[in-house]
């Protein structure tokens, strides 16, 4: 910590031409242009939800009506939201119960399979969701026979969609911790396999687990392709449907979902980096 803290000011003072990034003027231009590009559409969405019947007159009526819970017009959106939240929970469960133990097991017992596991986990990037959908119909015919047609079953497909993101998050944590030594230390103290996993390895991987879960939730809340083509109701498909009758409500919900996902990722990212700094110091 200290050497880096000393080196920086000295380098700046001695030689300003050693600055790697752009000068303040160029930086301001880049930030302004791109900032406007990203903020104007968001601002436009907010402006859109505040419009009233008279042009140029704005009101908060639609936001108030939405939260007063008086009408049942939004039931479909709430149903989609509910489905998406359930899907997010089941998807995270798949990540934690199927992917996480596999990564740990490969690390501890089958280090030779590491490359293969990585390749498999990154494969979904190469296979577009729209291609998967073409082949998912027969698979889901079987799934429906086994588990019924509840909307939560879509999480099986979502578990694949989030695989690359979840894998990268967990794997980068696994790479920073010596799982072999930890587990052998715990085993030599008499811990059972389950205890080793739950009370030694999982706490050491909590940063990766947290990040993987947050990313999975964000991905699931934004998923549209698979749900739409398998005719399931989730947040995004219900928003598109409602937008045809009441575009204002659809935009409000889209904004809220966006803010929710953003806040979730910021909070987790802060937690992760604060913890990291603390461990770096201690």
């Amino acid at each position: 910590m200290t050497p880096a803290g000393e080196a920086r000011p000295r380098r700046q003072r001695r030689a300003p031409q050693l600055r790697l990034g752009p000068g303040p003027a160029v930086r301001a231009v880049i930030w302004t242009v791109l900032g406007l590009f990203f903020l104007i559409p968001l601002f436009s969405m907010v402006e859109f939800t505040l419009r009233s019947a008279k042009p140029g007159v704005y009101s908060l009526d639609r936001w108030v009506a939405l939260f007063s819970g008086e009408t049942t017009r939004y039931d479909r959106v709430y149903q989609g939201l509910g489905n998406s939240l359930v899907l997010a929970v089941v998807t995270v469960a798949i990540v934690l119960l199927v992917l996480l133990p596999t990564i740990v097991l490969v690390e501890l017992r089958f280090p030779k399979l590491r490359r293969l596991l990585e390749a498999v986990c990154l494969l979904p990037i190469m296979i577009p969701a729209i291609v998967m959908v073409v082949g998912l119909a027969p698979t889901y015919a079987v799934v429906t026979q086994l588990f019924g047609s509840g909307s939560w079953t879509l999480a099986f497909a979502y578990g694949i969609t989030v695989l690359p993101y979840a894998f990268r998050a967990i794997q980068s944590n696994v790479g920073a911790v010596d799982l072999v030594t930890l587990s052998e230390a715990a085993r030599s103290l008499g811990a059972s396999v389950g205890t080793v996993f739950l009370r030694v390895l999982v706490p050491n991987l909590r940063r990766g687990i947290l990040a993987a879960s947050a990313l999975s939730v964000a991905v699931v809340l934004g998923e549209f392709t698979i749900a739409s083509l398998l005719s399931r109701v989730n947040l995004q498909t219900s928003l598109l449907l409602v937008s045809q009758s009441d575009p204002f409500v659809a935009v409000i919900f889209a904004l809220l979902a966006l803010v929710f996902a953003f806040v979730l990722l910021v909070v987790v990212d802060r937690l992760v980096s604060v913890r990291r700094r603390r461990t770096a110091k201690g």
Partner: protein
């Protein structure tokens, strides 16, 4: 370790970083006393192999099977007999045109997105790692790279739709009608701006680790040898970053090429890019055997993706050299 949640949002991205992860991992183990080594080589019991089966089963059923079924369905006709006629169907003007449309759209948004995204990364070089600015930009990038689709369609309809904020402002204040020659937001060129809205964040996620991998020592070494900042970028920084820049660009191309949701929510009935063409084939009950044409198009899409991703991994391997 430089991992953040958002760094993870760029999965394939930095395989290179993945390599450096394992590299740093290996170091402590090699510095361990030799006597400790054999401990890791342990008899792998049947129980451990059994532990791999849930994941293997899951991936086979929900990843391998659907992909194989999708591709195989391109080789059968409506009665389930083997045929190649679906593949020749790819040459139909409408379908070939949709491949071309997707290709064109992906190329434009990948190039513009890569340049704009790299500029943003460049501007962020000063921001401290693990600082609040980085957290905000990283998280926003993750969300925006993912949250395409419906929300994006809403955002751009509200902005530059026929009654959008910017459209109306330009018309009333500046007297410029952006839709003088008809509304283009719902056509393929109209998809460029919405696509950039998720391409630029993806570029930030994938390119930032490479830019941060540049060692300050290299700049100092250049300066010691009498080089200017321009010399540094032209002779040192640029050549080192080029493979990862091109790699990220390919990833952006693949991302746009496989994207469906934004176009589906925005374009409606037209089928001018291949993913919409697949939707059309999947849901149309009117023309018999169309569903199998979807399989053929899926195969075509997959081939494009495989070529792009192979080129990508070749570039990543080149990048990896500098990230140790």
């Amino acid at each position: 370790m430089t991992e953040t949640i958002t760094g993870a949002a760029a999965p394939a991205v930095d395989s290179a970083a993945g390599i450096s992860d394992t590299e740093t991992r290996r170091q402590p183990s090699s510095s361990r006393p030799a006597g400790a080594r054999p401990r890791t080589r342990r008899r792998t019991g049947a129980g451990a192999i059994l532990g791999l089966t849930p994941f293997a089963f899951y991936v086979v059923v929900f990843l391998a099977a659907p992909t194989v079924v999708a591709v195989a369905s391109g080789f059968v006709d409506g009665q389930g007999r083997f045929t190649l006629s679906n593949l020749t169907g790819l040459a139909e003007p409408a379908i070939a045109g949709s491949f071309f449309g997707a290709f064109w759209l992906s190329a434009v948004t990948a190039v513009v997105g890569a340049i704009a995204g790299a500029a943003l990364c460049f501007a962020m070089l000063g921001a401290r790692q693990g600082g609040v600015t980085r957290s905000l930009v990283d998280s926003a990038s993750s969300v925006l790279a993912q949250f395409g689709g419906v929300m994006l369609a809403f955002a751009f309809i509200a902005t530059i739709g026929a009654q959008g904020l910017v459209t109306v402002l330009l018309r009333t204040v500046a007297h410029v009608n952006i839709y003088e020659n008809g509304v283009w937001l719902y056509t393929v060129p109209g998809l460029i701006l919405p696509y950039l809205y998720f391409q630029i964040p993806l570029m930030v996620i994938t390119f930032m680790p490479a830019l941060e991998g540049l060692r300050p020592q290299w700049l100092e070494a250049t300066a010691t040898l009498g080089g200017s900042r321009w010399t540094y970028w032209r002779r040192v920084g640029g050549p080192i970053l080029l493979p990862s820049f091109l790699g990220s660009l390919l990833l952006l191309f693949a991302n746009a090429f496989s994207s469906y949701a934004t176009a589906a929510a925005l374009v409606g009935q037209a089928n001018n890019i291949v993913s919409l063409q697949i939707r059309q084939a999947l849901i149309s009950e009117t023309v018999l055997g169309r569903a199998n044409l979807a399989g053929a198009m899926a195969l075509g899409m997959l081939l494009v993706m495989v070529v792009v991703m192979l080129a990508y991994s070749a570039l990543v391997r080149r990048t990896a050299r500098w990230q140790r």
